[in-house]
Every structure is written in C-alpha cells, then in structure tokens.
C-alpha cells in the first residue's frame, strides 16, 4: 500500500470519526435512559430520525435557515421523548421489563410507519451547513459540513455533561440512577426525573437525527433500524450507563466503520463492526467503562 492509499485511509477514518459524533449522541441517549431506568428504549433512534423529519415539516412552511431546522429537530425530539415516556414507560409496572421492551418495539414500528405514511417512503433532502466548505490540512481535506456536525454534537455533549454534573437536576438524575428508593425518600420525584431524562435524551436525539441528516444530506425511513443497531453497539462497547464511554465508543465506531469500508468494502463493513462487538462481549462484557456493580 503506497502513501496515497495511506492518506486516503486516514482521510476515511477522519471522516468517520467526525460522523461518529452522531453515533456518540445516540449512544448517550440509550445509555442515559438505561442508567436512570435500567431499561432499553429501542425506539430511540427511530424517534431521533422522526424528530429530524418533524423539523422538515416546520421548514416546509417557511424558508428557514438550516440552524433553525436543527433547533426545531432538537425541540421536536424533546417532545417525542416525553411522549415516548408517557406511552411506553409510565404505566407499565417496573417488574415487567419484557413489557417495556415490547412497548418500545411497538413505538419503533409506530414511528417508522408514521414517517413512511407522511412521506410516502420517499427520501427527503436535509439541510446542511458549510457543505461547500472544504478545509485543507496538508494532504487531507476535511469537509466543512462534517466538521460542523462534529462541532455541534460536541457542543451538545458538553451542555449535557454540564447539566448532569453541575446542576441540581443532574444530581437528582444521578441519584435516581444509583438508588431510586432512597432518592424518593430524599424527596426526589422519580416520575419527574424520568420525564426530564426522556425529554433531555429526546433533545439529544433530535440533534443526532438532524446531524445525521446533515451529514448524509438526506433522510430516509430506512435509517432507523441500522442506526438503532449501531447506537446499541456503541452503547454496549462504551459500557451501559457510561456517558464518557458512549462518546468515545461512538467516535471509535465511526472511525472504524470507515476504515473497514475502506479496506474491505461496504458489504463486509458491518460484519466487522459486529465482530468488534463480540470481541468486547467476550473479553470485556462491561464495555470500556462498566458501571460499578453493587454487593448484591
């Protein structure tokens, strides 16, 4: 392999890492809900794409600048997140994890179908920022739109971490994730924390959906299942319940995905991602940053 190939490979990986920021956001959403409620919300990626679609609806009326569309997606994500909690989690007794799993599957199917119905299954164009900007760094070309995606995603992560670690709300959320019963005895409303968790992860998801659309250039209902699988893989590799883990795993998976594609082609790419997951499950089942396990 000569120097040009090497440069291409690194370029590919770099692009992948930038795109991986969206995987990181999805991973954060999955992992946060798991950390607080000990349940997996399988409809999360679909809801994120749904939020991006919803933001397009808002654009349809007015010729809005891209940044407004992204914000609309975040807002829509928050609303959808709250609805998902209400319909898929609130009324199902905690002792029935299978029932909540199934209800999130139902929501996944429902959201997918709503998207297909309202768009007749046709992929829609999604706005991007800086798509005509290319930044040259030596032999490498960094796409402006990807860099924006990366930057906005990182900003979102920073805000989320600030929220979790510097606010009372974040403190309450972390308390509930560690000891729900004791938290209640301290006066924390579990329902409120759960709703807020879902709304916040919904906002994160809305941004993830928007950024995915911006990076690819369009939205399609076919995105939800692969994104669900990728998001879950990122969550597990990063360690269920760990936000730093999800972030790092997202970037790693994004980069590796492109590397696999570069060396082995598109059709085998996903197979290697699976193998990566299996390797982790065999050698490090807790993921990169496993949640500490109690004595019981």
């Amino acid at each position: 392999m000569d120097v040009l190939d090497l440069i291409d490979a690194v370029q590919s990986v770099a692009d992948g890492v930038l795109f991986g920021a969206t995987y990181a956001l999805l991973g954060i959403g999955f992992t946060l809900v798991f950390g607080v409620m000990h349940k997996i919300n399988l409809s999360y990626a679909a809801a994120s794409i749904g939020a991006a679609y919803a933001s397009l609806l808002i654009v349809a009326g007015i010729k809005a600048p891209a940044i407004l569309v992204f914000l609309a997606s975040a807002a829509a994500g928050g609303v959808i997140g709250g609805l998902v909690y209400l319909v898929g989690f609130k009324f199902i007794p905690l002792a029935n994890p299978l029932a909540t799993l199934m209800s999130t599957v139902g929501l996944l199917l429902l959201i997918d179908e709503i998207i297909v119905h309202t768009t007749a299954g046709v992929p829609l164009n999604y706005p991007a920022l800086f798509s005509d900007v290319i930044v040259s760094a030596g032999p490498f070309n960094l796409r402006g739109d990807l860099m924006f995606v990366f930057a906005l995603s990182c900003a979102c992560m920073v805000v989320l971490l600030l929220l979790l670690y510097r606010t009372r709300l974040g403190l309450a959320t972390r308390a509930v994730s560690q000891q729900p019963t004791a938290s209640q005895l301290c006066g924390i409303s579990i329902t409120r924390v759960n709703v807020v968790t879902f709304v916040i992860t919904g906002v994160v998801g809305g941004i993830a959906g928007a950024m995915t659309g911006a990076a690819i250039g369009m939205l399609s209902p076919l995105l939800s299942l692969p994104l669900t699988v990728k998001g879950l893989i990122v969550t597990v590799i990063g360690g269920l319940g760990s936000i730093p883990g999800a972030i790092i795993a997202g970037l790693v998976v994004g980069g590796l995905e492109n590397a696999f594609q570069f060396f082995r082609g598109v059709s085998e790419r996903d197979l290697y991602i699976m193998l990566l997951l299996f390797a982790f499950l065999i050698f490090r089942p807790g993921g990169m940053f496993a949640m500490p396990v109690g004595r019981d």
């Binding site: 798991f34 000990h38 349940k39 997996i40 319909v87 898929g88 009324f91 199902i92 007794p93 029935n96 994890p97 299978l98 029932a99 909540t100 799993l101 199934m102 209800s103 599957v105 139902g106 929501l107 996944l108 199917l109 429902l110 959201i111 997918d112 179908e113 709503i114 297909v116 119905h117 299942l225 669900t228 699988v229 879950l232 893989i233 969550t235 597990v236 269920l240 059709s267 085998e268 996903d270 197979l271 699976m274 193998l275 997951l277 299996f278 499950l281 065999i282 089942p285």
Partner: protein, 303 residues
C-alpha cells in the same frame, strides 16, 4: 381458499419461531438471535434439498442440528452478558448471520440453470414442493403436523421438572444456583432447544416460500419472534399460538379493512397491549380463570 391455506402456513411457521423464543425466554434470556437460527435453518435445508437432492424430512433434521449447534455455540458467550446487554448481543448476532448470507454465494450448475444461494439476490428456486407434487393443502397439513409435534413437546417440557427448572432460572439465578441448579447447563440447553426449533421453522419456511434472501431475516423478524411469547404470555404455549394468530391475522387480513394503516395500528396496538396487559394475553391469572370456567370445582363448597 388458497389464500387461507397460505395464511395457515405462515401462522404455522411463525408459531415455530415464537416457540423457539418462548423456550429461551423462560430462562430469562431475552434473545433476538432466533431469526438468525431461523435463517441458518432455511439456508441449510434449502441447500440440502436443492443442491444435494435430499428428501425433506432429513433436510429438516439437518437444519435442526446445524441451527442447534450454532445456538449452543451462542449460548456460552451469552452467559457472560447480563440482562439487556444480551438483547444487543443477540441483535448483533442476528445481523451478523444476515450479513453472512448477504455475502454468501454457492451455486451449482444444473442444466442451463444456476442453483443455490447467490449473495444479495438470495436463494431462489427452492422447488421441492412443486417438484414432488405437494399441493398447498399438503404443505399446510405437513407444517401443522410439525407444529403440533413441537407444541406438544414444549407443552410436555413445561409440565415436567425441566420446565419448572427453566422458569426457576428465569426468576432468580442466585436462588437457583443455591438450590443446586446448574444454571450454565440450563441456559445453554434452553438456547439450544430454541435454536433447534427455529432451525426446523426456517427449513420449512424456505420450502413453502421457495425464495429466501437475507432481508427477510433481519431485526424485525427477530423482534416478531420474541413478540409472540411476550404478547401471548409466558405461562403457556397456547399464549404464543394465540399471539401469532392474532398478529399475522391482523397484519394480513387487516390489509382488507385498513389498507396501509394496518402497520401503523400494529405498532400502536403493541404499545396498548403492553400497557394494558403487561404479562401478556394468556398470563397465569387468565389461565387460572379459564381453568375455573372449564373445569368445575371438585369440592362442593366452592371458593
């Protein structure tokens, strides 16, 4: 008439899929790998009858064995993965199997036709049934004979000590270990049994549908597999059958009345069902109530 026979065929095969998930779910393992074993069974059986001219039943037997061995191999690492992580691991396994078949080509020249699996295009011309003069009715009866056999087997398992042990492991692994149950053996066995049943189902599926391809065996089929026992209730095999009838009947018959909206309503219906009856349609309480209706109380004093 053919339409209803076709519907019965689908219900039969999906019941096998559901039963395969049922056995694994009893031990508390939420496995989205059943579609993967189903796919393996489909391709193995198809290749044996088409490429190696095997008769159907031995081919199904072989697909059961291969799928079972794969399931056993999956069962061991699955032990290391707790709870909801197993969901992700099994999704990934199922996807890996699907991707394998997406890339898998093995063709044999037969006259002026090329037969065998052909990557993304799938495996066409699995024409065992037409070539041997089976009518749609014959196929349906065969499928239901197999389903009845498997259901009887699982029912018997459920009533035996093995069934109680499976459920004990599903309830509380720590207590089960402390009571002397070898949870490793139990969980791997359950996974293997599930794999065998899924393999048989897949093998039959390949033959009545005559054309299989990777897209049919994705995450959606895997979620259907566990949806049946969860929606139907885990206390009873008949719950799974009921759920299959309901779901497939709704999805296919519903096309008439609701057109394209049936998929929309399907998702919504699942959400509603889980909110209203989290333990499933035929949970322990429902079974008890049904028993009381059917079997008169032996003691004369009533309650």
């Amino acid at each position: 008439m053919d339409f209803y026979l076709g519907l019965m065929q689908i219900i039969g095969v999906h019941t096998l899929l559901g039963l395969s998930a049922y056995c694994v779910l009893l031990t508390g393992q939420v496995s989205l790998a059943q579609a993967g074993f189903f796919a393996i069974g489909a391709y193995v059986a198809g290749m044996l009858t088409v490429l190696a001219q095997w008769p159907l039943v031995p081919a199904l037997g072989a697909s059961a064995v291969v799928a079972g061995v794969m399931a056993c191999a999956v069962g061991f690492p699955a032990l290391r993965v707790k709870g909801l992580m197993l969901v992700v691991a099994t999704i990934a396994f199922g996807e890996a199997v699907r991707l394998f078949f997406f890339n898998f080509t093995y063709q044999v020249q037969a006259g002026n036709l090329k037969l065998g699996p052909h990557g993304a295009e799938g495996f066409r011309q699995i024409r065992y049934f037409p070539e041997h003069g089976w009518t749609t009715l014959d196929v349906m009866l065969f499928i239901w004979a197999v389903v009845a056999l498997v259901m009887a087997g699982v029912w018997w398992l459920d009533r035996s000590r093995a069934g109680a042990v499976l459920r004990a492991v599903g309830e509380d692994e720590l207590a089960a270990q402390s009571a002397g149950i070898n949870i490793t053996a139990v969980k791997v066995s359950a996974m293997t049994i599930g794999g065998v049943i899924a393999g048989i189902g897949g093998g039959i599926f390949a033959h009545y549908t005559t054309h299989i391809e990777h897209l049919q065996f994705g995450v959606v089929l895997a979620t259907f597999a566990i949806a049946y026992p969860i929606l139907g209730g885990l206390s009873n095999v008949f719950g799974t059958l009921l759920a299959v009838v309901f779901v497939q009947g709704f999805l296919i018959e519903g096309l008439r009345f609701m057109g394209d909206w049936r998929n929309l309503l399907f998702g919504g219906l699942i959400v509603l069902a889980m909110n209203v009856r989290p333990r499933g349609l035929l949970d322990a309480g429902a079974v008890l109530a049904l028993k009381r209706l059917i079997v008169p109380r032996k003691d004369g004093n009533g309650a």
